[in-house]
Amino acid sequence: MVQINIIDSTGKSHALSGNAGQSVMELAVNHDIPGIVGECGGDLSCGTCHVYVEAPWEATTGEASSDETDMLEVVDHLRPSSRLCCQLILSDALDGLTVSTPRDDA
């Protein structure tokens, strides 16, 4: 199992446990984590799974593909650490990964 933490926009940290091969988005939606919708089911078509990768994890999560970078233009509050978490796939190397969700301006 791979442990991850998702800090929501209220500052609350959610500790989740998933399987290698699952995406952070899948794990988040299965636990109703606020701020992550994943409406396209991981097709890189909606931009509703936007997270910030907390330091020092960017070195391990790697770079976004050009398709993901294009879709990141959709999101609000884009930062250099922004990723679409349907593309963050759990592995042993990501055990302990911490991401946070953007503030909700709605």
Binding site: N30, D32, D43
Partner: protein, 415 residues
């Protein structure tokens, strides 16, 4: 264990498609404290529909990744799920549903998220073996049972479903013919350059695309499809026929209960129907959408629409302030092409092309006056992304800068 003859919940949701499931999720994210019951008429756990014409059909997405949530979510999560059960009647005065197994369900609020059924072919031969629709997992599985390489598929309907199925069946090695009754593909939803692009795309991938082609009858041998006959008299050989000719919204039960319906359940901008404590969302709901420019109500069939309805209604039910509706949008995946569209083009009086429609990446903008109201993006995700905000703002567009792909879309706005 004896099943209870009657159930009750504060929020009862009929339909476990995208709208229903997203409503469950959105209520949970609000910390909604009431009880939620989700009723599905299918035996399968709730699943996502877009892959049925895309990855699932072509074999790149497995059955166990179709589920909307994992099974643990349904046993331990925020809602109680009833599967394989249909609602047969609603009593709005007593706030009760009757189920086809005889049980009664009492609701505080009822949300009708029942979607629709694929429109069936109104022509002779439609009941032959080998005629399929594309709406449910069972439909996709039925097609997969007969979709072998070199078999000949005739697809009736050149809309998104028909074209996605065409692309998927080509990747499985079938011969594919697409029959579109209108003079061009996607006639109701896009402009001519986009129709032309998709015709070329499919032809480049070996699909025989016929426009102005009306299927008049399906012929069979020993009860199995053998050909489709066109109004022109031409007979096209077929091993399987797949129809993607539209969706009929599920509104009969609601109409029988006295609810106002008109090609869908009529709702206001808060998704309230004409019945007290009864709402409707998703494919079945005809709503007052502030982003529609040419009509008072629209009924939009898309995932983003279903999600948007669920997001807004959940806020209302949870006692939070509801967000303003986002601009409608949609995506379609055919072969390797990314097609995304934002806004509703109905009511436009001008169309502008951005980039080169003869190439592989371009966009088409739809303007009402000087304001951008909709955009189709073919392999141009940055344009799709930037257009959402511009359309929401009613931005006025400089045509020359819009047409120049070297100028970012957001820089094509007139000050």
């Amino acid at each position: 264990m004896q099943q209870s003859a009657s159930l009750q919940a504060d929020v009862v949701i009929v339909g476990a498609g995208h709208a229903g499931v997203q409503l469950v999720a959105a209520l949970a994210k609000h910390g909604y404290a009431g009880s939620v019951l989700l009723i599905s008429d299918e035996a399968a756990y709730p699943y996502e529909r877009p892959p049925l014409s895309k990855g699932y059909l072509k074999g790149s997405e497995a059955r166990d990744s179709l589920g909307f949530r994992d099974e643990r979510y349904w046993s331990e999560g925020p809602a109680t799920l009833l599967r394989g059960v249909q609602v047969t009647a609603i009593d709005p005065a007593d706030r009760r549903l009757v189920l086809d197994d005889g049980r009664r369900v009492t609701y505080g609020d009822l949300v009708w998220a029942a979607g629709g059924r694929a429109r069936t072919l109104p022509i002779p031969g439609a009941d032959l073996d080998g005629v399929f629709y594309v709406r449910s997992l069972a439909d996709a599985d039925a097609i997969l049972q007969v979709a072998a390489p070199d078999r000949r598929a005739v697809i009736i309907g050149g809309g998104y479903i028909g074209l996605e199925v065409a692309a998927s069946l080509r990747s499985l090695g079938l011969g594919v013919v697409v029959l579109e009754a209108a003079p061009r593909l996607l006639a109701r939803v896009t402009a001519a350059p986009v129709s032309a692009y998709f015709k070329r795309l499919h032809e480049d991938n070996g699909v025989d695309v016929r426009v102005d082609a009306v299927a008049q009858a399906i012929e069979g041998v020993e009860g199995v499809v053998s050909a489709v006959v066109l109004a022109s008299g031409e007979r096209i050989a077929a091993d399987l026929v797949i129809a993607g000719i539209g969706l009929v919204p599920c509104a009969d039960i609601m109409a029988a209960a006295g609810c106002a319906v008109d090609d869908g359940v009529l709702v206001d901008d808060a998704f309230r129907t004409s019945l007290p404590h009864v709402f409707a969302i998703g494919d079945c709901a005809r709503w007052t959408c502030g982003h529609a420019h040419a009509s008072d109500t629209v009924r939009i069939e898309s995932i983003p629409n279903a999600t948007e309805h669920a997001t807004i209604l959940a806020a209302t039910l949870a006692g939070a302030s509801a967000p303003a509706p986002a601009v409608p949008w949609f995506w379609s995946d055919q072969y390797d092409v990314k097609f995304k569209t934002v806004g509703l083009l109905s009511g436009h009086d001008r169309m502008l092309v951005r980039g080169h429609p003869d190439g592989n990446a371009f966009a088409v903008g739809y303007l009402k006056g000087e304001r951008l109201i909709a955009l189709d993006a073919i392999n141009s995700t940055p344009d799709f992304a930037q257009s959402k905000a511009l359309i929401a703002q009613g931005a006025r567009i400089d045509p020359a800068r819009f047409a120049d792909p070297a100028v970012k879309l957001r820089d094509a706005v007139m000050a």
